[in-house]
């Protein structure tokens, strides 16, 4: 992609008096280009270097991980760390918990937030303004504010230490409904009215007209919710009290902190497993993702 600045230099008038100015600009651009690549490239190494290093180190033996000076590429690559992780620690359970929590939370948000977003954007009903104001009012609430009552509530409902207790508090989120409402507002009323005149029920309009048109917003919300849920830390840390209900981040964090001698070999392999699904989702969908964040940000 070329930006305005770039095109402009390219299309400078070619008349003789301006020629020199153009050459001058072009050579200055060349220097700027090299400097920028070096600086941003160095930054890129700082940003993704740790991840590359983590991935490589997860194939090293514990002795090699602790070697001084550190090695970069594994000397004797091994899968032992992953093997130990899945056999000695209950990693398959943590992984399954994480997947179940993230998937159910994501599907729930897509459904509930889009339905409520449709009602708030296009339907008239008493209490609509109040509901929307309550949603807006809680959008900035820090998670530690709700943590205590949520825990008390969960223990009264018998939700502490259950997967349902990890999912329910996040099924209906202010951000999601706000995003969906804003997006659905941009769907022309005429389109919905035409369907109504043709006798379509509201449910059918929602399912067959609104939802398909909302695909970009649903993609954004889905990805954001999945990532937030997959990486969520505070609530699972509080609400999952026995190992069989741990999600991956909680298991790994408590394991890392709880041991007298930190087993970096297992921790590094575990970290790779946490990051891998996110990386796949992110790389596959990053176009949607970046565009979605940018548009939600600016609306």
């Amino acid at each position: 992609m070329t930006s305005a600045l770039d095109t402009r230099t390219e299309t400078l008038p070619e008349g003789p008096p301006r020629r020199r100015a153009g050459d001058d600009l072009r050579s200055r651009d060349h220097v700027a280009r090299v400097v920028l690549h070096v600086v941003l490239g160095a930054g890129l190494v700082v940003m993704i270097g740790p991840f590359i290093w983590m991935a490589l180190a997860s194939f090293k033996t514990e002795g090699e991980i602790r070697a001084d000076p550190p090695t970069f590429f594994p000397q004797n690559g091994t899968l032992d760390n992953y093997h130990t992780l899945f056999t000695r620690l209950d990693f398959p359970t943590y992984f399954t918990n994480s997947v179940v929590v993230a998937v159910v939370t994501t599907v729930g948000n897509l459904l509930f937030c889009s339905a409520a977003g449709y009602a708030l954007a296009k339907l008239a009903f008493p209490g609509k303004r109040v509901l929307f104001l309550i949603v807006l009012g809680t959008i900035m609430v820090p998670s530690v504010v709700t943590m205590v009552p949520l825990f008390v509530l969960s223990s009264n409902l018998g939700l502490v230490n259950s997967l349902a207790g990890l999912i329910l508090p996040f099924l209906a989120q202010a951000f999601g409904v706000f995003l969906m409402r804003q997006f659905i507002l941009s769907i022309p009323d005429d389109l919905l009215e035409a369907a109504r005149i043709d006798g379509a029920s509201e449910l059918r309009i929602y399912w067959q007209i609104v939802l398909p048109l909302c695909r970009p917003a649903l993609a954004t919300l889905g990805i954001l919710t999945f990532l937030a849920s997959w990486n969520n830390f505070l609530w699972p840390l509080v609400a999952a009290t026995t190992e069989d209900k741990y999600t991956l981040p909680v298991a790994l964090a408590l394991y890392a902190i709880g041991q007298n001698q930190t087993r970096y070999d297992l921790l590094l392999a575990g970290s790779v497993i946490i990051v891998l699904p996110v990386l796949v989702v992110f790389l596959l969908l990053q176009r949607h993702f970046v565009r979605g964040i940018a548009t939600t940000g600016l609306k």
Binding site: S3, L40, M54, P142, P149, N231, A253, F282, L298
Partner: protein, 297 residues
């Protein structure tokens, strides 16, 4: 006959769509926000879960106690430093990267964008594992590299004077991708004609940056500032996984102190502290709005 449904039926349809969300939202989000305020006025503790009648209303006692709690003061100071240094640092870095990527001089922009964004989507636990390893005092990558140029690196996370600054830099590293993406979108939304006109008028790039880019970007800056500030005020995960708040409480944050008090079973006290955080978040957001809105036009 009547193609328009009646008032009653319209209300039912509307609530039919909104109800599942509304119920879940009221029970698990809005309800707890109110409950937390009520709890902050009581001496509710973990023991009261079995005996709700033992709860007493103590008014504003919890709030008064906060300021006599030395740990609260320490946590407030640490959080303030984290926000006051971390927010501008993170925003400046993300803006610089965005300007660089938007200059039109960069090849493989997508690669850069993905790379800089990667830490934002990564679990803090994985990040902590890598960084604690890199920051190890003796054989860690950072101190080994510093050793090559003759610098004897400290034990970054276990030294009182370096622990918090280390977490600030780590926070900037982790979050700058978010601001970068938003700034990039903001930069691309600036009409190209403005730059073209400025060029014809003979404005240099520096002048264009100063008089076109910066003013046009103000709403974007506001958005990034508010979101970053809200996140940084709640600073919890980094100290929890990196330093456990130490050494000697030098990285204890307000959210972490709240979490600890909750863990000790002091529910009323923890709720009061949570509410203080909430008020701070709201006040800082208003401050950003004032600061950046006033200057428009």
């Amino acid at each position: 006959m009547a193609t328009r449904p009646g008032l009653m039926s319209r209300a039912l349809t509307g609530w039919g769509f909104a109800l599942p969300f509304a119920v879940l939202f009221l029970v698990f989000t809005a309800g707890p926000v109110v409950a937390s305020l009520v709890m902050s006025l009581t001496d509710l503790g973990s023991a009261d879960l079995l005996d709700p009648l033992g709860v007493d209303i103590v008014g504003l006692d919890n709030y008064a106690r906060l300021f006599a709690d030395p740990k609260f003061v320490t946590a407030a100071v640490n959080t303030t430093i984290f926000v006051v240094v971390g927010v501008p640092l993170t925003m400046a870095l993300s803006l610089l990267v965005a300007l660089g990527l938007n200059s039109g001089l960069i090849k493989f922009r997508a690669l850069f964008r993905v790379g800089y964004y990667l830490p934002v989507v990564t679990s803090i636990v994985a990040i902590s594992v890598v960084w604690r390893f890199i920051l190890q005092p003796d054989s860690g990558l950072l101190n080994t590299m510093l050793g090559l140029v003759g610098i004897d690196g400290p034990n970054w996370l276990q030294t009182q004077s370096t622990a918090l600054p280390t977490l600030i830099v780590m926070g900037a590293w982790r979050n700058l991708g978010f601001g970068m993406v938003i700034f990039l979108a903001g930069l691309q939304a600036i009409p190209k004609e403005l730059y073209e006109a400025a060029t014809i008028d003979g404005a240099r790039k520096w002048a264009q940056l100063r008089f076109i880019t910066v003013p046009m970007l103000r709403p974007t800056v506001l958005f990034v500032a508010v979101i970053t500030t809200i996140g940084y005020v709640q600073f919890f995960e980094e100290p929890f996984v990196m330093t456990r708040g130490g050494p000697l409480d030098s990285t204890l944050s307000l959210a972490y102190h709240t979490y600890n008090q909750f863990g000790f079973g002091n529910y009323g006290y923890a709720s009061a502290m949570g509410y203080v955080l909430f008020v701070v978040v709201v006040l800082l957001s208003i401050a950003w709005f004032r600061l950046l809105r006033n200057n428009v036009d």
